[in-house]
């Protein structure tokens, strides 16, 4: 055990500082963009440092009654969050996008995006499940503020749906949290640390199964709403399609994962109390429903950002099912999470570029993308193929492992159904991709990449996806194995 604040502060402070700086720095200067990127990189470095600590066998904790704690699972999520935050700082609204946003809007975006990152980082590093809840609730608030960055009827509508459904859902998760605490207090008595995940887990054996089952239903519905699990997913396509692309990238890339993280934490406790069958059944049920609904929704989708949003629901459903398929399933699910973070964030950034150029969110109006913007188009194609689970990208590996886990777990029929829906999703996504990439470009659209440097970081994303698909780095594998130890029951 290591109880020092340094790693936590280097992880958590930069986004806070960034939020404050954004208030004072001029919005349109390159320097403010650079400051943001540097701060995000510091945070990312801290997250990677935490990974190394964790792999060294250290579990850093900090704060009164070990309020913060980082184990392998937290470290992985922290890296994901910091990674997408960095990309967002580099590619988000800022210099070069003046024609789309006013300085006020850019500033507002920077402030709240930084706060958003901060809340997510707190959520994944908090040991106290109450604090985790607070942080996740706060993610809704701070992100909802910038969904209608450019006010329009659609964006206001989306943000209202997002905040209302998100808040109601997350409130239910609080009911679950209170119920869990209630059971603990009833048995063990009141204690400041009672909401600490470690304490809950340590006392799991004495908790009451009926109460914990009840609590888990609330928690699953609650955090499931944030994670975009069907049938609570309804806010997601709206918010993701209307938000500025950099925010969509953060939401789709990591917010869903953070919500899933919360479910995993609780699942570990619940599984120790009532055994794995009960939570697994629920996870598989919701996961399959999400996968099915999302796959079918992809078929006749008309807008590409909504397409990506539904694809997020599909992948979250898959990850959710993976959590229920034994250690190998958890392994695959986490690998999938990482892949999805990298791929989906990239896709939303790219869709932002496409939206800028074509000025329309409709798939039918986008054609000849490869000719109009060769780099963006190529990366978009690569990202979509990655999302479809094709080699050499990482999702091939994670989906394969996930299915293998399912078959090894004896769930052949379930996996057969999964395969059918995956195939439906595949064909539909591919059809839409085809339509966008090829064909003649609309006459009024300007040819040429234009500020091509902006996609450079995304080339890194593709490279990362390929690395994840060809040879997962050893530390990553080790980290995933640690996570399986934590959550693989």
């Amino acid at each position: 055990m290591m109880a020092t604040g340094a790693p936590f502060l280097t992880l958590l402070l930069p986004p806070l500082v960034a939020a404050l700086l954004a208030l004072v720095l001029p919005a349109r200067r390159l320097v403010s963009s650079a400051v943001h990127a540097v701060l995000a990189l510091v945070s990312l470095g801290a997250a990677l440092g935490l990974v190394y600590l964790v792999l060294d066998g250290v579990t850093p904790t900090w704060g009164p009654t070990d309020l913060f704690r980082v184990d392998a699972l937290s470290a992985l999520l922290a890296v994901c969050v910091a990674f997408v935050t960095t990309l967002s700082a580099l590619l988000g609204p800022g210099p070069g996008r003046e024609q789309h946003y006013t300085p006020v809007q850019i500033r507002r975006f920077r402030v709240f995006a930084s706060l958003f990152a901060f809340t997510m980082l707190v959520a994944v590093t908090a040991n106290n499940v109450g604090v985790m809840w607070i942080a996740i609730e706060a993610t809704t608030i701070v992100s909802a503020v910038i969904v209608p960055l450019a006010v329009s009827k659609a964006s206001v509508e989306a943000s209202w749906k997002y905040i209302l459904i998100g808040s109601v859902g997350i409130a239910l998760a609080f009911v679950g949290t209170v119920l869990g605490y209630f059971d603990f207090v009833t048995l063990v008595g009141q204690r400041e640390s009672a909401l600490n995940w470690t304490v809950l887990l340590a006392n799991a054996r004495v908790l009451h199964p009926p109460v914990i089952e009840l609590a888990f239903v609330f928690i699953l519905i609650g955090y499931g709403t944030k994670a975009g699990l069907a049938p609570m997913h309804t806010w997601l396509p709206d918010a993701h399609s209307e938000a500025p692309s950099a925010l969509s990238a953060m939401m789709s890339g990591v917010l869903l994962a953070v919500a899933l993280y919360a479910i995993m934490r609780w699942k570990a406790v619940v599984a120790s109390v009532v055994g794995p069958v009960f939570p697994n059944r629920l996870l598989v049920g919701l996961g399959l429903l999400s996968l099915a609904l999302a796959a079918l929704s992809l078929v006749i989708q008309r807008q590409y950002k909504r397409l990506l949003a539904y694809s997020s629901i599909e992948h979250t459903g898959l990850m959710c099912m993976g959590l229920a398929l034994g250690p190998l399933g958890v392994f695959a699910s986490m690998l999938h999470l990482v892949n999805h973070t990298v791929a989906k964030s990239m896709m939303f950034f790219l869709s932002g570029r496409i939206l800028d150029r074509y000025g329309t969110p409709e798939i039918a109006s986008v054609s000849g993308l490869l000719r109009v913007m060769p780099w963006t188009g190529g990366l978009f194609a690569a990202g979509m193929l990655a999302l479809l689970g094709l080699p050499p990208f990482g999702m091939f590996l994670s989906e394969f492992t996930l299915l293998r886990a399912g078959f090894a777990d004896g769930q052949s029929w379930l996996m057969a159904v999964v395969l059918v829906f995956l195939a439906v999703a595949f064909v539909s996504l591919l059809g839409h991709l085809n339509r966008m990439l090829y064909g003649a470009a609309p006459a009024e659209v300007r040819l040429g990449e234009g500020s091509g440097w902006a996609v450079l970081p995304l080339v890194g994303s593709v490279a990362l996806l390929v690395i994840l698909g060809v040879a997962v780095p050893a530390p990553m594998t080790a980290l995933l194995h640690r996570i399986v130890e934590i959550a693989g029951r």
Binding site: G130, E137, W160, V168, A171, F182, T186
Partner: protein, 215 residues
């Protein structure tokens, strides 16, 4: 004694929710919410008194300040702005609403049976009412069309949870409590901003018009 008092307090809090179902005017809704918040603060104080827990007093005071006074004031301001828009045609009419509210409370009794059976706290008897309030609030949010009413429903939902926490556990850890308060306050402010935004862009706070985004 404590048990009866807590049930009594919880009933008052729940009644606040049912009043929302019954009345249609915005002012009446705000009144119901204020009444409910005050009742909740009183119940908290009562539990704090019997449990000898100073933290609960503090929480009760804060609650009174924020939800009993602060938020109602802001709500009043909004009412002056859109006061003319009443809940004229909810999805479910008043009589049915009240009936469903009753059924939801019964459902809460069934669902919370394991809770009541495991707890040794004297206040546990009020817990079904707290969960009942949660359900009723959800029902309000679903069945009412004005954005403002939905905000009120959401605030009541939080009141229900607070009631549940205080009855079941005599209050959650203070640090969590502070965070929750912050969230509630911030969340309310943001929602309020959105309600104004809706009013600006749609010239009405009727949520039914928010149906552009489909598929």
């Amino acid at each position: 004694m404590v048990s009866q008092l807590s049930v009594g307090g919880s009933t008052l809090v729940l009644l606040g929710g049912l009043m929302m179902l019954w009345r249609r005017g915005v002012a009446a809704h705000i009144g119901a919410f204020t009444f409910q918040s005050v009742a909740l603060a009183a119940t908290m104080a009562m539990v704090g008194w019997f449990a000898g827990d100073w933290q609960l007093w503090a929480v009760a005071a804060a609650l009174l300040l924020v939800k009993g006074i602060g938020i109602p004031l802001l709500l009043k301001r909004m009412e002056r702005r859109f006061g003319s828009e009443r809940e004229l045609e909810p999805y479910v009419n008043t009589a049915t609403s009240l009936l469903i509210g009753g059924l939801l409370v019964l459902l809460a009794y069934i669902v919370t049976a394991p809770l009541v059976s495991v707890s040794r706290l004297p206040t546990r008897t009020g817990m079904p009412l707290a969960i009942g309030l949660v359900f009723v609030s959800l029902f309000i949010i679903i069945s009412r069309k004005k954005a403002l009413t939905q905000v009120l429903g959401f605030l009541m939902l939080e009141n229900g949870i607070a009631l549940l926490a205080v009855l079941g556990t005599h209050g959650i850890p203070i640090i969590v409590e502070i965070g929750v308060f912050l969230d509630v306050a911030l969340g309310f402010i943001v929602m309020q901003v959105f309600v104004y935004q809706i009013h600006e862009t749609f010239e009405s706070i009727d949520v039914e018009q928010l149906n552009r985004l489909r598929e």
